[in-house]
Symmetry: C2
Subunit: 380 residues, 2 copies
């Protein structure tokens, strides 16, 4: 059963001070809500998005085929995050490219499009902006905040920045910070974008071009890290796209043509992405990932960093996720337990790598469903 | 103790038929030899190189500082592959860019530089070219053929293409073929090169440019896959290159400046590589990796494929190598054992990922040393 989603927008006139010391003067946030806020205003759930997603978490757009939200299998009537019980909010983050103020918008200070001048935003900044949206919606406390990957970092950061405003945090396929390898992959993707001659120092909009070559490479790299070696072998293996007849090997013997199915898949994903995603947003969001590190201010001691939390937690990880491996989730679990917080943890045996957090899986959905049921109807 | 190495070149006038059906009319191979061929001509060891290495396996060049060969820790007087006992040959493969005929040379059919028209060469083609070099050197049978990574594939292929000409094969950090993920990383690197506007369809030489942007990206991706997550965390972690004073986090808050040490390292490696490596060679060699798959002609049955082998084998893998994991080496070991071949296998517990095959490690060196000692002085 599906439902119609309607994006909304809210304008904020008060400047938002950023972690970098910069300020965003005024800004819009695009968001969607599903379900009904109850009279006690106690059933709100905020869903935070990862790199390339948006406020469109669930439902479809009227008259648009294949317009399901990115977590439509998770959020909706009768789904694990049940919109018959909860009032669910999805919000597009600042600096993204799906409606909220970002690099494609006009900088009120200069009258020109921001481009590469859009200020660097962090997970903490996003959480502050989200908190203002909740203020405007009259929601003092969230029943839950939830997210996967970078969205999980936002959920975790909520429990640190606004400990009294979160009763439950659901952190899926996430990490307390990026490893050197994670940063390395982000950096290669950024270099591909920045060194594309069509990037024009981040001011490509006025040249009527986009750095599509760089975006394609960035997305191809991303896709490799979202999947597991196992699932790639199962889905593509060494299968050729079209084997040459009358040739023992079936190979075309070309360095530039598509030979293997995996190449075809990656090129397709890269092409598609380069047509809809903003290059400056890619830089900003990967940097927000790099910078997130709540233990940093505590000399790397995550237990100390998480002492401020007051929420109850559900952590979920996936066995074949090598981008944010189960070990990274366990670091968070351990630090929370050392603070005697109430933590549930599920490590789901799934073949799909990091992508698993977006996919249908009975055990995964079951765990999230049970967790939300456990506090459905709970008041503050 | 080091010694002086002297590169040599040999011209082959007879055309070489390639696996693709194409033909290389005439070609040069650049090679080096260390030690003395004995009277029985029974002590020759061929060392095969991987992606970016060359014939310069060991020793230094007269008057050139820091000119040690790429496997100088493995090959030399008193080293595991002891040149006091063995006559060691290193050869630059066809299509590479360190002396042997490749894309930067003139195509005798057109009188113009080959560029992207250089024919696709495979591991099997390289082995055929190497066999002709041995013919010319009067070596009918090798005491051993040895290589790491792509070099290991050549060593394995020697035992299949010329089973009677190899007594021992040492296959280090290798695989019976590339996985979908391996191919995926190669493909992203190739796309970065091919879509660089300075690539000019592979004929950049006449434009006086090189596709340096693409080569940088390719090398950065490569480097990530050569290292383990653990060693990256140990070497670089989340360390900043230069922390900003008077700022809680130390961050510069920039999407394009170097912030983390790992970024600095990768950019440096990319820059260095783009200054010496040929882009067309990069495409050719990664394609040779993609295509290697001796089991392919046997419906994927590696045991059947390896039935032709007659050599004795040493296989070595490294615990943290996720590019060519120990599991891939064990596939080869299993297939050889099922053919009742004489196989030794060492899985070295090393933190350095795929790079470990090039690095000093007492146990690794010890295993190779013992293996070579076991047949030193052996005649055919």
């Amino acid at each position: 059963m599906t439902f119609i989603a309607t994006p909304q927008s809210m304008t904020f006139d008060a400047p938002l001070p950023l972690q970098s010391g910069a300020l965003i003067r005024g800004y819009d946030l695009t968001y969607e809500t599903y379900g009904q806020l109850n009279a006690e205003r106690s059933n709100a759930v905020l869903i935070c998005h990862a790199l390339n997603a948006s406020h469109h978490v669930a439902g479809v757009y009227e008259g648009q085929a294949r317009s399901e939200g990115w977590w439509d299998n998770m959020v909706g009537p009768g789904k694990p995050v049940d919109t018959n019980r909860f009032f669910v909010i999805g919000v597009n983050n600042l600096g993204s490219c799906f409606g909220s103020t970002g690099p494609m918008h006009v900088n009120p200070d200069t009258g020109r499009v921001y481009g590469a001048d859009f200020p660097v935003v962090t997970v903490e900044d996003w959480v502050n902006a989200q908190a203002r949206l909740l203020d405007a919606l009259g929601i003092e406390q969230l029943a839950a905040v939830m997210g996967g990957s970078l969205g999980g970092m936002q959920a975790l950061s909520w429990t640190l920045q606004y400990p009294e405003r979160v009763r439950h945090a659901v952190v899926v396929a996430s990490a307390p910070n990026l490893s050197a390898e994670n940063i390395a992959f982000n950096e290669v993707a950024r270099r591909a974008i920045v060194t594309d001659p069509d990037f024009h120092g981040g001011h490509f909009y006025q040249h009527g071009v986009v750095p599509a070559r760089g975006l394609r490479i960035a997305r191809m790299i991303g896709h490799i890290t979202y999947l597991s070696d196992d699932v790639m072998n199962a889905k593509f293996g060494r299968e050729l796209r079209e084997a040459v007849a009358d040739n023992g090997s079936g190979y075309k013997f070309s360095t530039q043509d598509i030979e293997f199915q995996i190449e075809s898949y990656l090129r397709y994903q890269g092409d598609k992405f380069s047509q809809y995603f903003d290059a400056n947003t890619y830089l900003l969001i990967t940097r927000a990932l790099d910078y997130f590190d709540p233990a940093r201010a505590f000399g790397g001691d995550l237990t100390q960093a998480l002492a401020r939390t007051r929420a109850k937690f559900l952590l979920v990880s996936f066995s074949t996720d090598w981008r944010f491996s189960p070990a990274r989730s366990r670091e968070i679990v351990k630090a929370l337990l050392e603070n005697r917080r109430d933590v549930s943890y599920a490590e789901i045996d799934a073949p799909h790598g990091h992508d698993a957090f977006l996919l249908e899986d009975e055990r995964y959905m079951g765990v999230v469903c049970s967790y939300f049921e456990s506090f459905s109807g709970e008041t503050r």
